[in-house]
């Protein structure tokens, strides 16, 4: 059954285990490919991961003059093909979230491929496997539907309102996990 990465931002504790685990994925050459931000560092300890959202119609791939960014049949937007990437960094500029990273020594872009060597066989990506807080989860569409919290105005999964880019394969609970929860007593 198809599973997706699902983000519950409110759960994040800023441990950056997702980044440590990212380096462990076979195809990642020990470089982490995503981000965790301190939301308001001088005020509180809130943090949030910024992961590639694997857009259905990704700006990074559209902007690539060399067609180096391929989309896997699972929907994962892959890292640039080494033999095609010309190091122009159009993708980083085009991505509304600034996800693709750049290796200046090799003159190559690299980005999250959703651990394609794992997820193509239904094994969760490293980040969602290790996340101690369930900020990152690997869920079926049905499990995501059951989360119920995504009462967005347009009824669609988008990453911000108004949306920056459009439909994404990765889903984010924007209103926050505790909104709408009824207390037990």
């Amino acid at each position: 059954m198809k599973k997706r990465l699902y983000l519950e931002l409110e759960n994040c504790i800023g441990c950056r285990s997702c980044l440590a685990a990212c380096t462990q994925c076979g195809g990642h050459e020990e470089r982490n490919r995503n981000y965790v931000y301190d939301v308001n560092p001088l005020v509180n300890r809130q943090t949030m991961p910024l992961m590639c959202l694997h857009c259905v119609n990704p700006a990074c791939a559209r902007s690539c003059p060399a067609q180096a960014i391929q989309i896997h049949e699972t929907g994962a937007v892959l890292s640039a093909l080494v033999e095609k990437c010309i190091g122009c960094q159009n993708c980083t500029i085009a991505c509304p979230y600034g996800i693709p990273k750049f290796d200046t020594e090799q003159n190559l872009m690299y980005k999250c491929d959703l651990c394609i060597d794992r997820t193509k066989d239904g094994i969760p990506p490293m980040c969602a496997s290790v996340c101690p807080t369930n900020t990152l989860q690997w869920l079926t569409d049905e499990e995501i539907e059951n989360k119920k919290q995504h009462n967005l105005d347009n009824g669609k999964w988008v990453t911000s309102m108004p949306y920056l880019e459009g439909e994404t394969n990765v889903k984010i609970s924007l209103p926050g996990i505790l909104q709408g929860v009824t207390k037990l007593f």
């Binding site: 504790i13 285990s17 094994i123 496997s129 290790v130």
Partner: protein
């Protein structure tokens, strides 16, 4: 066993020429399940793969766990014994030369014999730790008493778990850190978590903690800082460091006054209620608020939530335990569960977050100054006889009780203790009042340190022995639930390094005590003797065979024999371990921290951990990812306080107490009380915050008051001219 809603059947990814070794993390008491990836051609550990089938953590790991494997083949590993001939270089990294095991053993045996002949058996000491297997912890106790014949053995649990142990013993008559398995946590209705920075120190508990709130349950957190767990708490009790006892008494008073006491439970299963009720009357919300600095409404609301909750778990950690009244704090929080009867059933109870990997098992089996295997007392003749029967010595040969960890340094300073065998610990960073402790270590005539890296403490040694990491040996560990689990060997020891148990067997032979040790050829041999030595003690591991541990996903002690499946939940029969079967509700008068702020030192200094480092940092500071994330200590200061001192974010300031000082980078944050500053303790040499901390010891547990002392800040940099 205990597969819950978080458990998913997932196949692991395996690469060609690779095998996975099922084991657990080397670090904290969570003991997260992990698979080590081993290259089948080189037979070396090359990475980590989640262990989805471990029921407690279902594949989850914190950044320390993910990178733990990088310890094994690290460039800093000690590969051969080191000897330093020039004692004037003690306290530095200088002067060591590589030596053979033969030469090192000969030197140690000669020096140990010389000291004991001249100054008596007790001139030697053993300082140990609990980040190692039960088998090693057990053998270390035997080594001290049988091979060295000294009374002076103690361990770093005195800086970690001893207050929890003391509190549980007094309240329940038994010291198992959790009365219930971790798989109950997400099913309770209210978590009352005091003095635990859970999200950073035990991150893989967090998915269960958050799940309580997702179900509509409540989270109450008591902490001077708005830690990542406190940020999302329903009630954050932001108390002054060192005032937990007042807070717990105040909450207990409200529970009793508002009719939440379970009178039936109290009458049938406890002692001490009436006098406790009398004592806590004084702790009105107003008075409690005055002592703790927490708003009255928060105190009242927290008591109401805990009182109303059908099920609740009270949890705590070093924040309440590392105080000179740590034992009282533990008993005071346990009181909440006993008075309301929220214990002795599933989904309700009490737990401490064990700090070290084997903080639970390691304190039960005879590394503590006054304990023998199976939690037996060295002052109890019957207990001594039982252990003597296993060890093959006479009770006359058994040394008496020694002194606690910090007090051993006092005896080193006085030259009562002249020799030290240190293993699995780094007190030159982790002990309080470090100027004194480091001087005491320098003062030794002869010191041996076994470690797998050259720690700050090894810098004081004459001989350093290369031990192995957790991944190069096997044995059992008891996690924070009280679940005995199995650590498996993934790689052969690198270089000439050896497991600690083997070092002790070989050293015992050199000391002429081989007949008590020479039959121990493998870790399994030690395990078999260890299980036998615990038989009949109340921490009975006899039935916890390696086979059973494997089949059952761990075994909860007590586990008395082959048929016994173990005891995941304690006290289900409402029988406590005191002789009359009752628990004790304790009447505990409040006392402030040993050192209160004054004009000269107006701030409260508290210490703790960050998510990227473990204990003294000897391991984690060497791991590139963890070092990148947190390369140096810092001092957390509230913006209002920063304004008072005219200091800025990222500025270096001098922080000092009556005992020591350090230069720290300022981290401005509103997530701390205005009267409090915080510094993490993972750093060595002049960066150690323990140069500043106070060695005020708990009268029962001998735990130092790491969590509260008086401090002052001084601005260093001149203001830039605009």
């Amino acid at each position: 066993m205990q597969r819950d809603k978080f458990f998913k059947e997932i196949d692991n990814l395996t690469h060609p020429n690779e095998r996975l070794i099922k084991t657990h993390c080397s670090y904290c008491g969570m003991q997260c399940g992990m698979n080590l990836r081993v290259n089948t051609i080189t037979n070396k550990i090359i990475g980590v793969e989640p262990r989805y089938d471990w029921p407690v953590t279902v594949g989850k790991m914190c950044p320390k766990g993910v990178t733990a494997y990088q310890q094994t083949n690290h460039k800093d590993r000690l590969l051969k014994p080191l000897i330093r001939d020039d004692a004037s270089l003690k306290g530095t990294k200088e002067g060591f030369r590589e030596a053979s095991w033969e030469e090192a053993y000969d030197l140690i045996a000669a020096k140990f014999k010389e000291l004991q002949e001249q100054y008596g058996k007790d001139s030697l000491s053993v300082f140990s730790g609990v980040s190692m297997t039960n088998e090693k912890c057990y053998l270390t106790g035997k080594f001290a008493r049988v091979a060295l014949g000294t009374r002076y053995i103690d361990y770093n649990g005195r800086f970690c778990m001893s207050s929890a142990a003391g509190g549980f013993l007094r309240s329940f008559g038994v010291d198992r850190g959790s009365t219930l398995p971790w798989t109950d946590i997400h099913e309770t209705d209210c978590l009352f978590i005091a003095g635990s920075n859970t999200a950073e120190c035990h991150p893989t508990s967090m998915f269960r903690v958050w799940a309580v709130q997702e179900r509509g349950g409540y989270l109450i957190v008591a902490d001077p800082r708005e830690t990542p767990i406190a940020r999302r708490a329903d009630i954050h009790l932001d108390l002054k460091p060192g005032t937990d006892l007042a807070l717990a008494n105040g909450i207990l008073n409200l529970l009793i006054q508002n009719g939440y006491a379970d009178e039936e439970f109290v009458r049938q299963h406890t002692n001490g209620f009436e006098e406790t009720k009398e004592l806590v009357k004084e702790f009105t919300p107003e008075y409690t608020s005055e002592l703790t600095g927490v708003a009255i409404e928060k105190i009242v609301r927290a008591a109401e939530i805990y009182g109303k909750a059908p099920n609740a778990i009270v949890m705590f950690a070093r924040g309440v335990e590392q105080q000179h009244k740590g034992v009282d704090n533990v008993s005071a929080y346990v009181n909440l569960a006993l008075v309301t009867g929220k214990i002795g059933r599933t989904k309700a109870g009490v737990a401490t977050f064990t700090g070290q990997g084997n903080g639970q098992g390691g304190r039960e089996h005879g590394q503590k100054a006054d304990l023998l295997p199976g939690y037996r007392k060295i002052t109890n003749p019957k207990h001594v006889q039982e252990v003597c029967d296993v060890w093959g010595i006479t009770p006359e040969e058994m040394p008496g009780p020694g002194v606690s960890a910090y007090e051993m340094f006092e005896l080193m300073e006085k030259k009562t203790i002249r020799g030290l065998y240190l293993l699995c610990s780094n007190p030159a960073v982790s002990a309080p009042n470090l100027n004194f402790v480091r001087q005491a270590m320098k003062n030794l005539d002869f010191m041996v340190c076994a470690d797998f890296y050259l720690s700050e403490s090894a810098e004081f040694a004459d001989v350093v022995l290369p031990s192995v990491t957790w991944s190069e040996d096997e044995g059992t560990v008891t996690n924070l639930e009280g679940r005995i689990i199995k650590i498996n060997q993934a790689q052969e020891p690198i270089g000439e390094s050896k497991p600690d148990w083997k070092i002790q067997v070989e050293l015992a032979e050199r000391l002429g005590r081989g007949k008590y040790f020479s039959h121990l050829h493998t870790a399994k041999d030690v395990a078999d003797e260890f299980r036998l030595a615990t038989k009949g003690g109340y921490a009975d591991y006899y039935g916890a065979t390696w086979d059973k541990i494997d089949k059952q996903d761990g075994v909860f002690w007590p586990c008395k024999d082959e048929k016994d499946a173990g005891t995941p939940h304690m006290f289900l029969d409402k029988k406590f371990y005191h002789e009359d079967g009752r628990a004790k509700i304790c009447a505990l008068p409040y006392r402030p921290p040993a050192e209160e702020p004054d004009e000269q030192y107006p701030l409260r200094l508290t210490t703790g951990r960050v998510v990227y480092h473990y204990l003294s940092g000897n391991q984690t500071r060497r791991i590139p990812f963890l070092k990148d994330m947190c390369p140096e200590p810092f001092v957390e200061v509230h913006p209002e306080t920063a304004l008072k001192y005219d200091i800025n974010h990222e500025e270096n300031v001098r922080l000092f107490t009556r005992r020591g000082e350090g230069i720290y980078r300022v981290k401005i944050t509103e997530a701390i009380r205005q009267d409090t500053v915080f510094v993490p303790y993972h750093f060595g040499h002049e960066q150690s915050i323990n140069l500043l901390t106070i060695a005020a010891l708990d009268p029962m547990s001998r735990m130092p008051e790491f969590k509260a002392c008086a401090a002052q800040i001084e601005k260093l940099e001149q203001k830039k001219v605009q």
